[in-house]
């Protein structure tokens, strides 16, 4: 334990309104703390620079999964376990369920939260590629009100996001009915379980009479943020999935990613695997 624990504060307000009030009254002083599976690791490593946290874990307003005709809304502090056990998510948004099941082991899944995974801002997070591929929307709340933003564009740079110091993610919304079609979620980690991803792929495409009507290609761990490979998607739209299309899409993908060498993997491995996963997805070889 490499931190001076007594110097850290964790307040536990009883309601979301109380929590938002704290953020509003002392902007910049407070940061949110959900399940703690990222923040506590930093605390123990002596790398948690901020001191004062507001716990969201027990707030009933943030843990829910609600379905209506046009959307599925997942509350911010819904855990990975809740997500991967949810029948409708498994049926309609299977990549999200898979992503949740790939994140850590059972104990991590029981405490890690969806909004925490997003707001931690790591490009290696496991659920963001699936959320991007599903055109997710974020509902962001503060004492000043509520706003909704497309998840795409939320991450503005490495660990930078469109979230003011007094704001919290309240929910993640997915549009219903879901698009039919081929989907592939694949995380390439450092091992088969309990692994940080080296490359994470989430792809969705709709074929009509053998022609691509629409496509989403999202990747994690290959850029400073999770990315959508819009150029590759554009290449695919309106074309048949022949070898020429696949090769063109692969080339376009290379332009969308900027992988690095780090303690876990190399830029060249990540580049190659990203392209291979795209090919695997497009050729339906899974």
């Amino acid at each position: 334990m490499r931190s001076y624990v007594p110097s850290f504060e964790l307040r536990s307000p009883a309601t979301l309104a109380e929590a938002l009030d704290l953020f509003a009254r002392e902007p910049g002083r407070w940061r949110p703390f959900a399940g703690g599976t990222d923040l506590m690791v930093l605390l123990e490593a002596g790398r948690l620079e901020h001191r004062d946290y507001v716990s969201l874990w027990h707030l009933p307003e943030l843990r829910f999964i609600e379905i209506d005709e046009t959307s599925l809304a997942i509350g911010a502090t819904t855990t990975y376990t809740d997500v991967l056990r949810h029948e409708a998510i498994g049926r309609e948004f299977p990549m999200l369920g898979l992503a949740a099941a790939e994140t850590g082991g059972v104990a991590t899944q029981n405490r890690g939260t969806l909004a925490g995974n997003i707001a931690n801002g790591s490009p290696a997070a496991d659920t963001p590629p699936a959320l991007l591929a599903y055109d997710a929307e974020l509902e962001i709340v503060s004492a000043r009100g509520v706003r909704r933003v497309p998840y795409e564009g939320f991450h503005t740079g490495y660990k930078q996001m469109d979230l003011a110091p007094d704001e919290l993610i309240r929910a993640i919304r997915l549009r219903r009915p879901p698009h039919p079609g081929r989907q592939l979620y694949r995380k390439v980690g450092t091992r088969r379980a309990q692994a940080i991803s080296k490359v994470c792929f989430a792809g969705r495409l709709t074929l009509v009479d053998g022609t691509v009507e629409d496509a989403r290609i999202a990747l994690g761990s290959v850029a400073p943020t999770v990315v959508r490979a819009r150029l590759a998607e554009a290449v695919l739209r309106g074309r048949r999935l022949d070898s020429g299309t696949v090769a063109d899409a692969r080339r376009a993908l290379a332009g969308a990613i900027a992988p690095i060498d780090d303690a876990r993997s190399t830029a060249s491995y990540r580049s190659r695997v990203a392209g291979n996963l795209l090919e695997e997805f497009l050729t339906g070889a899974t």
Partner: protein, 166 residues
């Protein structure tokens, strides 16, 4: 700065079916509160980063790594540690199976592993070997290679299905 100060909270929770009151810092690890304040040293620290599972306990019926749980989150919770698994002198089926199958070698991962196994069997009474491996993937064992552990869990679920309810 550091020498004094730091808010101390007072929380009440249930540990191994007994009411417990703990005074500690809000960001203090539940692991330390259990081991040092309550002197329940059966839960172990292997890594301090939530990777090895040696610190696993059951909190409100779910397996968690206690090195990643701040004390403030334990308020009102019902916690089971390894010390709470056996009923007085009678070992749990999982514990007996670990002994019979050689599931414990050095023993340091064993408390967390047993809780993870109990958590699995409560959710999936008849797991396949793959189910067992998946459920225990968050509990690292350096000694056994997992063969004896998987066999122990499978033995325990056979016993549990044959035995009368506890």
């Amino acid at each position: 700065m550091k020498k004094e100060g730091g808010r101390v909270i007072h929380i009440a929770c249930r540990v191994n079916a007994v009411e417990a009151e703990i005074d500690g810092h809000p960001m203090e690890r539940l692991l330390d509160a259990l081991r040092i304040r309550l002197r329940l040293t059966g839960t172990k620290e292997g890594c301090g980063e939530g990777e090895c599972g040696a610190c696993a306990v059951l909190m409100d019926g779910r397996l968690v790594n206690s090195c990643l749980v701040p004390l403030a989150h334990a308020a009102g919770a019902s916690i089971t540690t390894i010390e709470g698994v056996a009923a007085d002198d009678r070992l749990h089926a999982v514990q007996e199976a670990f002994i019979a199958q050689g599931g414990a070698q050095c023993g340091i991962c064993t408390p967390g592993m047993i809780l993870a196994a109990i958590d699995l069997l409560e959710r999936t009474p008849d797991p396949s070997p793959d189910d067992v491996r998946r459920a225990l993937a968050g509990n690292l064992c350096r000694c056994t290679g997992f063969g004896r552990i998987v066999d122990a869990v499978l033995q325990a679920c056979r016993r549990t299905s044959e035995a009368p309810p506890r």
